[in-house]
């Protein structure tokens, strides 16, 4: 008998009688989108992220152009922000990605209660990019903020693509004496542009 059969057989013998699956019936504490935006900003900033609200993307475009002139390796993945870096694809080597100074990517949805942003694989182009870049910038429409994770999971399809992530703030650790250090293995900073254009 295979291990698979042994394990499944043992479970079938040892499991209790079927217990009903509960319905998740949690309501949001506020119905106001403005409250969700406020909470998203407050929470994300409390976990080390930075949020800037913009009514126009022109400022981001300018910022990208200037940084590129300054010689930094800036990766843009959003066509609306200007020329995209087509060299970033799913098979790009880690050793090359490691040289990215700053990456601009689009977020799908923000979650007010925990300050996280959902990113689909097609938005990040390469799974490593949001982790291996030194600094990460996410552009998110202000209309895409939901109050909590329950609502978030209603709106995303986790299996639509091969990979997706809720990303909340810069990489961090407190493994040395519980002292918070920002910039463990992943990005050293996270900036979210909340765009109301």
């Amino acid at each position: 008998m295979s291990s698979r059969e042994k394990i499944l057989g043992a479970i079938s013998t040892n499991k209790p009688a079927l217990i009903e699956l509960p319905v998740i019936d949690i309501k949001s504490t506020s119905n106001l989108a403005a409250d969700w935006v406020d909470q998203f900003i407050k929470i994300l900033e409390s976990i080390g992220g930075k949020v800037i609200q913009l009514s126009s993307i022109d400022l981001i475009k300018k910022e990208i152009q200037q940084a590129k002139i300054g010689g930094e390796y800036i990766v843009n993945t959003l066509p609306i922000l200007g020329e995209v870096n087509t060299e970033i694809n799913s098979t790009m080597e880690a050793s090359l990605l490691e040289t990215v100074d700053r990456a601009y990517i689009e977020g799908s949805l923000g979650v007010a209660e925990n300050g996280s942003v959902w990113l689909y694989e097609n938005q990040i182009k390469n799974r490593l990019l949001p982790f291996i870049c030194q600094h990460l910038v996410i552009c998110l429409s202000i209309n895409k903020i939901v109050p909590n994770l329950h609502e978030a999971y209603k709106q995303i399809d986790v299996a639509k693509e091969g990979y997706g992530v809720f990303l909340a703030g810069p990489s961090k650790t407190a493994d040395i004496e519980q002292s918070l250090v920002i910039g463990a293995h992943g990005a050293r900073s996270l900036l979210v542009y909340l765009i109301s254009e």
Partner: protein, 471 residues
């Protein structure tokens, strides 16, 4: 007889060189300032957890949901596992089944050898700790690099993690500084956590980029979609898995949840309970290998189906490994994770480990005052302290008790069952001072007396007073 032997009277010594929890805890407590520091550091984490959960008005409702979803899942576990397997395979993920730690380790070794890999990066997985994978692989010439900062620190020091979420919480920054000076060539005496973390970042980035194979744990596996979720704050699981050509994810059978919507409940509970964060920095959902990558999942039993068959202890399989019970446990905070001599320490470890090896872990259910704080912080409402009590009964009925304790308890039970004998024996507390371990009036062997005075025996018992004054 010296007081040290007192416990030997009542507990069978653990075989081999391993110290029992109480022996290790006594050594831990010799440095009182350090014990205070350890206690306060972990209490700080408990306070962060309290603050976070108080911001969620529906917290207790979420705990109930988390508990009920897990209860349901365990009651239908075989069907969910096969559903998960079918969907994951359709997603292009290879599924393996391991009956025990040995088979789990062999499967990993086989994949490593097939791919001719010599170095692997591994993010935190308590299952691989439970299976002693690192030792197994290093004995066979494979270098395992633990990539979680805390795990890398203890790996350099040849120590096991002392906490499942904060593996190096028993160490001070000076200790880390010395270790990094030795292994990474950092400046001697530079204890700045920022500086030390940066050194680890540089060191591990090189490992991530070079490594062909990454091993991760699994926080949740979704039956309906055949995908799995891995949570980290550092980003090390993602750095490893996305850079490597092969990704192996190891999961216990109990990691299954029915649908993605249930993640809404568990991800809300997990980080708040663990560290007081609203969510971990990265909650990564893996559904397919990326182009050109191989993805494997190893589904491991290693005693879990046996625990599923123990009605009293079944619910311990609901654990989501947040370690809130560690941080709140007054005994854990004052004895350190290593005193539990197992991969998973703390209160939850004390109800999981006797299932794996009753004899070796017979001391653990007694390393508790049964205060119940663990059950109150548990995000999936495992009645940990009740199970500690029940394991004590189980261990005694299975014969894992020293003869001295058995004799003492039988004697005590006999006297207390017979009021007339109790009255004569108990006159002025004489019998009690012999029989009750905590009142025993033998100052040379009674551990009570080491740091505490005995209660003073009064002139008359209440019974005598009552007979004189009320009858």
């Amino acid at each position: 007889m010296n007081p040290k032997n007192f416990n030997r009277l009542f507990f069978e010594p653990i075989q081999g060189a391993t110290l029992s929890h109480s022996e290790a805890a006594e050594i831990f407590n010799k440095d009182e300032a350090r014990t205070d520091w350890h206690d306060e550091t972990l209490w700080f984490v408990r306070e962060k957890r309290d603050k976070a959960v108080r911001q969620i008005s529906e917290w207790e409702q979420l705990r109930t949901l988390g508990s009920d979803i897990k209860d349901h899942t365990l009651s239908n576990l075989d069907n969910y596992l096969t559903e998960f397997e079918k969907n994951a395979q359709a997603n292009g993920i290879k599924i393996h089944w391991a009956i025990d730690a040995e088979e789990h380790n062999e499967i990993i070794l086989r994949i490593i050898r097939e791919q001719k890999v010599h170095q692997v990066v591994k993010s935190k997985s308590m299952l691989t700790e439970e299976c002693h994978l690192n030792d197994f692989l290093s004995q066979r010439g494979v270098e395992v690099v633990d990539t979680d900062l805390g795990e890398r620190i203890v790996q350099f020091r040849n120590e096991p993690p002392s906490h499942i979420v904060l593996p190096a919480i028993h160490l001070k920054k000076q200790d880390v500084s010395e270790t990094f000076h030795e292994h990474l060539g950092t400046e001697k005496g530079n204890n700045d956590p920022q500086y030390l973390t940066e050194a680890a970042r540089q060191h591990l980035r090189e490992k991530f980029i070079k490594s062909q194979l990454a091993i991760t744990g699994v926080n949740f596996a979704i039956a309906s979609t055949g995908g799995f979720v891995v949570c980290t704050n550092e980003g090390n699981a993602d750095m490893g898995a996305h850079a490597a050509k092969i990704h192996i994810a190891c999961m216990g059978i109990e990691k299954i949840i029915p649908k993605a919507e249930h993640l809404g409940v568990f991800l809300r509970l997990l980080a708040r309970s663990a560290t007081g964060q609203p969510i971990t920095t990265y909650s990564s959902h893996f559904h397919q290998p990326r182009a050109g990558q191989q993805m494997h999942i190893i589904i491991v039993d290693n005693g879990r189906t046996k625990q599923l068959g123990r009605p009293d202890f079944r619910s311990s399989l609901k654990c989501i490994r947040c370690a809130a019970c560690f941080n709140t446990c007054p005994v854990y905070r004052r004895s350190g994770g290593h005193s539990y001599h197992t991969a998973v320490a703390g209160p939850i470890g004390s109800i999981l480990n006797p299932n794996l090896d009753m004899k070796a872990n017979a001391d653990l259910p007694f390393a508790s005052t049964l205060c119940g704080s663990c059950s109150n912080v548990c995000p999936v409402k495992i009645d940990i302290h009740v199970q500690l009590y029940k394991w004590r009964q189980e261990l005694v009925s299975e014969g894992y008790t020293a003869t001295g304790k058995k004799v003492a308890m039988k004697g005590m039970a006999f006297v207390l069952s017979h009021p007339s004998i109790y009255r004569i024996a108990g006159k002025m507390g004489r019998w009690m001072m012999r029989a009750f371990p905590f009142i025993m009036n033998n100052k040379s062997i009674n551990p009570w007396y080491k740091q505490r005075d005995m209660p003073e025996a009064p002139k008359q018992s209440f019974r005598d007073w009552y007979k004189k004054n009320k009858q």
